[in-house]
């Protein structure tokens, strides 16, 4: 029997970064409708930085995320909706509101060493009868053994699945395999993966992960996501199908159609691996820093790649977008001092 892989779409969540959080209700309706028709079982929708992410620090949403969630909930016929929540940014109140709109899956994300800040949120989601996926972000920063320790914490709080999340797109297949293997061997719950394409490895990483026993895989239409983007879901579907995996009734032709009709026309720019995006992967920097680094670089007239390299040196974690301003400011001072 073919091994089953569950595909989760994050176009309306991770894609929010690439859209500078400018999704409208109409876009959400079109994308959700197309994904629902293509047979995608779980569709994630939230501000890119999760519920409550709309802010100066991460960028304000054009329309309130709860309005988009409401539209999505009205549009789906078969798919379940998921939301992302980062403790420290969003709160349990946000999760309750989303659950009231019919969201069935809570994805609770922490930096890979900080799983213990997710206990309250995982607990509430379970109490409300939601499925919980634990997201360990920036997984490249710690060893497979240490990652397992944190994954076990999330499992102990009630997570139904735990992810290796390569937020920086800094892993290549070997590193991805090792982390997935550690979690598959050490957890009782399924293991999922979320890849970014900064080193052009998102699809091969996802395939390697599934070969190691991961059974849940994220992607976004056309790869629309932070940094160089995520694993393009239509490619993931086609590749996995060709490799003989059971992708749960997902029609990859229809997924390509969804990408062409609902996503590509609204993309502000193609999802490419340009210099700054490549620097994210090279330096191991949170992918959603990309546009913030570009803005800060422009504001202070410095090279965005220099900002991102400094982020890597300082070992910044997800959520520290404010520090890009400080780094750009200091680089500009150094530049002025050097004449």
């Amino acid at each position: 029997m073919a091994k089953s892989v569950r595909l989760i779409d994050s176009t309306l969540r991770d894609g929010s970064h690439a859209m500078a959080h400018q999704f409208t209700s109409e876009m959400a309706r079109n994308i959700v409708k197309a994904l629902d028709e293509a047979g995608i079982g779980t569709i994630e929708i939230s501000h890119g930085d999760g519920l409550g992410g709309s802010s100066f620090n991460y960028g304000f949403s054009k329309e309130p995320e709860m309005d988009l969630i409401k539209v999505a909930a009205e549009t789906v016929t078969k798919s379940d909706l998921a939301v992302l929540l980062l403790p420290g940014i969003g709160t349990r109140e946000d999760l309750k509101v989303a659950a009231n709109y019919g969201v069935k899956v809570a994805r609770i994300a922490t930096h890979c060493t900080e799983a213990d800040i997710s206990q309250q949120h995982i607990g509430l989601a379970k109490e409300m009868g939601m499925e919980v996926i634990g997201f360990l972000m920036m997984a490249h920063m710690i060893s497979p053994e240490d990652l397992l320790v944190q994954a076990r914490l999330m499992e102990s709080y009630g997570a139904d699945c735990v992810y290796v999340t390569d937020s920086a797109g800094a892993l290549t297949p070997d590193g991805f395999r090792a982390r997935v293997r550690a979690l598959v061997e050490g957890l009782d719950v399924p293991v999922g993966v979320h890849a970014h394409n900064n080193l052009s490895s998102a699809v091969p990483n996802s395939l390697a992960a599934v070969q190691e026993g991961a059974t849940v895989v994220d992607g976004c239409c056309a790869g629309l996501g932070a940094g160089a983007g995520n694993a393009p879901l239509e490619i993931i579907a086609a590749v996995f199908d060709r490799e003989g995996y059971d992708i749960g009734g997902v029609d990859w032709f229809k997924l390509v159609d969804a990408t062409e009709t609902a996503v590509r026309p609204i993309m502000p720019r193609p999802q490419t691996i340009d210099g700054p995006a490549l620097t994210l992967g090279y330096a191991g920097v949170y992918s959603s820093f990309l546009l913030h680094a570009e803005r800060a670089a422009k504001r202070f007239d410095v090279d965005p790649r220099e900002i991102l390299l400094e982020c890597g040196r300082r070992k910044l974690v997800g959520g520290q977008e404010d520090t890009l301003i400080e780094i750009a400011y200091q680089l500009s001072k150094e530049k002025q001092a050097a004449g």
Binding site: N57, T91, D116, I117, Q320, E321, D322, I325, E326, Y329
Partner: protein, 298 residues
């Protein structure tokens, strides 16, 4: 010509940092440290410093409370909720460092003068102590329609209480930005960074402002930084305030005094330093009420 006597309830890191900082205080004398574990390091340290201790919690406090005017609560929200009525019954002033928030939040630079007749005040969060003075500095010279802060702290300096109740940080801090900081609406974000060596506590304040009189805002922020530095010496701007269309950004770093806790734990330092500042103001107020001199005694 006596100092005001205080008790420190809670013999963990925060209580012990308070003890260290109060050693040479001009207005306050630590008369008692209350713990619940006879083997706790904090109680042993207090004894070595010649301070009376009890490991019998609230019962021990009741027996030894005579002559004490002020209690620093450095336990947990649940314990303070249980203890607060006892302090009130015994006529003690409670300065609460837990998230219990029975009393109003006091940020010394902004509103300590308004709370000195109350029996119970709360320090709020470290993020609020670090950012509300700046928000207040901006909002007193121009209307702030929305204020947002991001506090980044070293993972090592965030204890289990913070970690298991992280919503409490974001919700309480956001509320303080409005109630004390003067923003019309507030939002707070906290990020834990595990980098080694540990990072200093950093706070970014974003204020949405209408018309901007740069000179007035800069002067007001400068006054706030100097005002907070009086009780938190390691509090400083990381960059000049940054002005963009409709927005002022202020980045602050807090280096801890390194009294008992390591210097990267500026988030804990600012809490204990602010609590002591509040305690000093209460002490001066009590001395004045009692007709005693309020000249500082080293």
């Amino acid at each position: 010509m006596t100092k005001i006597k205080c008790a420190i309830v809670g013999s963990g890191n925060i209580g012990t940092d308070l003890l260290f900082k109060l050693r040479h205080d001009p207005y306050l004398e630590t008369a008692l440290v209350v713990g619940i574990d006879p083997d706790s390091e904090g109680l042993a340290i207090a004894k070595r410093h010649g301070v009376q201790t009890t490991h019998q919690g609230t019962d021990g406090f009741r027996k030894l409370q005579d002559g004490i005017d002020i209690v620093f609560e450095a336990t947990s929200a649940a314990v303070h909720r249980a203890n607060a009525p006892v302090y009130q019954e015994l006529g003690k002033i409670a300065i609460d460092l837990t998230p219990a928030a029975i009393g109003p939040i006091v940020v010394p630079y902004v509103n300590v003068g308004e709370v000195l007749d109350l029996p119970n005040v709360n320090l709020g969060t470290c993020g609020a102590q670090a950012t509300a003075p700046i928000m207040h500095a901006i909002s007193r010279v121009t209307d702030v329609s929305y204020g947002e802060i991001v506090s980044t702290v070293a993972s090592k300096s965030a204890g289990p209480g913070t970690r298991q109740n992280i919503d409490e940080f974001t919700v309480t801090t956001a509320r303080t930005l409005v109630e004390v900081g003067g923003a019309d609406r507030g939002k707070a974000i906290i990020v834990l960074n595990p980098a080694d060596p540990p990072i200093m506590m950093k706070n970014t304040v974003f204020a949405a402002v209408g018309s901007v009189d740069r000179e007035a805002i800069l002067a007001s922020i400068e006054d706030a930084v100097a005002g907070v530095q009086l009780y938190v010496p390691g509090y400083h701007l990381k960059t000049e305030p940054i002005f963009d269309e409709g927005r002022v950004t202020v980045i602050i770093e807090v280096e801890g005094a390194g009294a008992y806790l390591p210097s990267y734990a500026g988030n804990l330092d600012i809490e204990t330093a602010a609590a002591i500042r509040v305690g000093q103001e209460f002490a001066k107020h009590l001395l004045t009420q009692r007709g005693e001199s309020v000249e500082a005694k080293a």
